[in-house]
């Protein structure tokens, strides 16, 4: 008897209601038993749609037109309902906030079981089993609203697992998480795949954390499958492509004309060691151009003019008693590019919210542009210090991009005569001209991020503060953003960046501020701070450590690679 495939997609094309262009066109994909499939592609390439096609949400929930067929465990998805498919295919979504229905983790995990009408004895067994296996037992009596993002997403995973699905589909499950929770989540997935033989289909843009353990990588481009094969094959395939969804390390060696690039930091390190040993180069001879840039930093000449932003003895205590900042002394001069890094809850966001007066110090003093923030209101400080929060959706309130910029200009009391010039400049810098009259809601995530940035940049604040601009953003968008920020900085403006993305930080910043437990742990040139950290450093540095210690950025790594080769 022929074996029934779990998921079998044949020539699938799909159009969302009211759309002429298909979101998926002629996609064929077959998931083998026990397989771990990684789905990559730029935003808008059809990853989410393909995920939803596997459990019938497309087309049942969304409507629209469909061609071709999707069979799940022998059932045609167009002929049966989502709730019946749910027992075979479990799905975890992007934002944990949008998929949890209950205030209690136990009730949450039981929700799906209640829906399929399981009796209480069986339910109890499954709930406890799943909680134990995902190490969630400690959260039993917590409220969902008290949990961290990573814990919420694990509860969401548990609630799906409890239904004993055969296939697990995940649509960018880590895009809202910090890197440490993300890594934890992805390794949990890996062990589920290893030990239980669950078929996993994972759409993910943070490829460096899961690339190496995928059995197969499927690249989507404009709704079509551009490539499908093993990670190593994918790496070789992408050498000639204009954009690449690869871990930074793999990409580095690929650009260094390596035909069999390493997939992980470990492999990269071994390769570097091998090359270095073969060539007999010494540590000092590598990365020669790193030297001079080190001395630039906050040079002596700049020291003389008063700092643009300074804090002294800054403490911040929240209403619930959390000491978010505990004595921060800091000076930032005009024209610096500073990255603020550190784990979750280390006080990064709290610190930068003091720079435009959103938060006032509980103790100590914050001076911005020579004014004490305590005496000046936010709207006034905002003229010097523009700030962009984590979520572009909170930023955008107007009906189109132009309106968005004009709202800001009006609030900033910029004379109306200058509006056209300023808007044109912002459009030009961020390359968003085509979206001038479009509603930000209709744009993709990366495009929206740029419009949100434009709504701040348009009045040219001397200080620009960005809180995690790269969360949930694909590689291509990240590179453009980095270029925009460096350009803005080169025009003499100060840029302060709060981020978890160390490769991104190293790429564009000059100075790095490492925070922990409400204090500044390290502060200085990026080479000093990052190269001296064991954990808070880039993959490039981890790879070249011991051979070329000063390597932090991609360009430096490329140069180092040339030297040792």
């Amino acid at each position: 008897m022929e074996e029934i495939e779990l998921v079998e997609i044949e020539g699938l094309s799909y159009w969302y209601p009211g759309q002429d262009a298909p979101a998926l066109s002629d996609v064929s994909l077959r998931l083998e038993p026990g397989e771990f499939v990684l789905l990559v592609g730029a935003s808008g390439s059809g990853k989410s749609t393909l995920c939803r096609a596997a459990n019938g949400l497309v087309p049942h929930f969304y409507g629209g037109r469909i061609a071709g067929s999707v069979k799940v465990a022998g059932m045609d998805t167009s002929a049966c309902e989502v709730k019946d498919l749910a027992r075979v295919v479990g799905m975890v979504f992007q934002d944990p906030e949008n998929q949890l229905v209950s205030e209690n983790p136990v009730a949450e995990i039981a929700f799906g079981l209640e829906n399929i009408g399981l009796d209480r004895v069986q339910m109890r067994k499954r709930v406890e089993e799943v909680m134990a296996s995902l190490r969630l037992s400690g959260l039993r009596d917590k409220r969902v609203s008290e949990l961290s993002g990573g814990q919420k997403q694990k509860v969401a995973l548990a609630s799906v697992l409890a239904m004993h699905p055969q296939v697990l589909v995940l649509d960018e499950p880590t895009s809202q998480l910090d890197p440490i929770s993300a890594e934890d989540f992805l390794s949990t997935l890996k062990s589920l795949n290893d030990e239980l033989g669950l078929v996993v289909m994972l759409a993910e843009h943070r490829v460096e954390r899961c690339f190496h353990f995928a059995d197969r990588v499927v690249v989507l481009d404009g709704g079509r499958i551009a490539f499908a094969g093993t990670p190593a094959e994918m790496a070789s395939w992408s050498s000639g492509q204009r954009w690449v969804m690869l871990p930074p390390i793999t990409r580095l060696f690929l650009d260094g004309a390596d035909s069999v690039p390493p997939l992980t930091v470990k492999e990269g390190r071994m390769k570097v060691a091998e090359l270095a040993a073969g060539n007999g180069h010494l540590q000092d001879t590598v990365a020669p151009e790193v030297g001079p840039s080190r001395e630039k930093g906050p040079g002596k000449k700049r020291r003389r003019e008063p700092a643009q932003i300074s804090t002294s003895g800054l403490w911040h205590v929240y209403g619930d008693g959390t000491e978010a900042l505990r004595g921060v002394d800091l000076e930032i001069s005009r024209g610096e590019f500073v990255a603020v890094i550190g784990e979750n809850g280390s006080g990064k966001s709290t610190l930068v919210k003091h720079f435009n007066g959103l938060l006032k110090p509980s103790k100590g003093k914050v001076m911005v542009g020579g004014r004490n923030t305590r005496d000046v209101e936010v709207a006034e400080l905002a003229r010097t210090c523009g700030m962009l929060g984590q979520n572009p959706n909170s930023q955008l309130i107007a009906d189109d991009t132009q309106g968005e910029m004009e709202v800001t200009l009006k609030a900033m009391k910029v004379p109306e005569g200058d509006w056209d010039r300023l808007t044109a400049e912002a459009l030009d810098l961020l390359e968003i001209g085509p979206f001038l009259h479009r509603n930000p809601e209709d744009l993709s995530c990366g495009e929206r991020e740029r419009v949100a940035l434009a709504s701040v940049l348009v009045y040219k604040p001397e200080v620009l503060v960005l809180d995690e601009p790269t969360r949930g953003v694909d590689q291509q968008t990240k590179e453009r953003l980095s270029a925009f920020l460096r350009e803005y900085n080169a025009r003499g403006n100060t840029v302060i960046l709060v981020t978890h993305d160390l490769e991104f930080a190293a790429d564009c910043c000059g100075r790095v501020l490492l925070m922990g437990a409400g204090q500044v742990l390290a502060d200085g040139d990026k080479h000093t701070v990052l190269a001296e950290s064991l954990f808070f450093t880039t993959q490039y540095n981890k790879c070249f450590r011991g051979i070329a210690g000063g390597v932090v950025t991609r360009d430096e790594a490329l140069r180092a690679l040339e030297v040792i080769r």
Binding site: Q99, F111, N115, V127, V378, R383
Partner: protein
């Protein structure tokens, strides 16, 4: 806890006696302590104080009852001759105390009662509306944080201003309402999708939790009934009567003190029981 708090509330409503109100507040404090939420509970004092002072100030000004005039004011149109009586002040204070007692008890309910449990009591009828209410409770913190983010972002852009009067502040926030509604709607749709993906609507649902009666619930219910019963009895028997007008008078005899003590004693008894419960395995294994 719910039954207990409700009984305290009813008792506080039916008696006008200020000393009894103090007893009710005390009982609520003890219960808050035993539930481990004393700190949050006591943080409601500001609201209580405001209400108390308002009642204290407003009543004497508008009330024309009472025999002991302590201040004679000028003639004001509409209000007529202003005068303040000691009884009216006392009545205002009594009212304030009563309102405060209600607020304290309400605070206790808010802090201790899990909405899921209340909805669990409604099982059988209206499972759907129970689910909707549970979802609402679940989404409230999310929406609050969404709104906080939005407000921060717009303050950073100078669109929402901190000063310039209430009307200006309100006006500058109006455009945000649309955005909040939109965000909530988006979340709602995503949630619906996620629920469907977890087989919601597959036919009759079962329930994971058993909202059965436990020993602790029985003790609480007994205490609640005692408080309620004694309160009603006290009012009926006139033990708890307290009249403000025309002159202050209170019925007082030996039994009255006992009535006052009932809510406090009941609350303490529960506290004691719960402490014993926590420490004694013997009791736990037998009940």
């Amino acid at each position: 806890m719910l039954a207990l708090a409700l009984s305290l509330m009813v008792v506080s409503l039916i008696t006008g006696n200020p000393i009894y109100q103090v007893a009710v507040i005390l009982a609520a404090a003890v219960l808050a302590f035993s539930a481990g939420v004393f700190k949050q509970w006591s943080s409601w004092w500001k609201l209580c104080l405001v209400i108390f002072v308002m009642a204290l100030v407003i009543n004497p000004l508008v009330s024309r009852y009472g025999a002991t005039v302590i201040w004679r004011g000028p003639h004001v149109p509409v209000f007529g001759h202003l005068f303040i009586t000691a009884e009216a002040v006392a009545y205002g204070a009594g009212m304030g105390l009563r309102l405060s007692a209600m607020i304290w008890v309400f605070a206790l309910i808010t802090l201790t009662v899990d909405p899921d449990n209340v909805l669990g009591l409604l099982r059988g009828r209206g499972a759907k509306s129970a689910l909707v209410s549970a979802l609402t409770m679940r989404m409230v913190p999310t929406m609050m944080s969404d709104a906080g983010d939005l407000l921060d972002a717009q303050r950073s852009r100078g669109i929402v201003s901190d000063n310039g009067g209430r009307m200006a502040a309100l006006k500058s926030r109006l455009p945000l309402v649309k955005r909040i509604l939109k965000t909530s709607l988006d979340r709602g749709v995503s949630l619906a999708e996620a629920m469907e993906a977890r087989a919601y609507g597959s036919g009759p649902r079962t329930r994971y939790r058993d909202y059965g009666f436990k020993a602790g619930d029985a003790a609480a219910l007994v205490a609640a009934l005692v408080i309620l019963g004694v309160g009603i009895a006290g009012v009926a028997a006139g033990f708890l009567s307290f009249t403000y007008y025309p002159t202050l008078s209170m019925h007082f005899e030996a039994g009255t003190a006992a009535f006052f003590a009932v809510p406090v004693v009941a609350a303490f008894a529960l506290l004691l029981l719960s402490e014993i419960w926590k420490r004694s395995n013997w009791l736990r294994l037998r009940v």
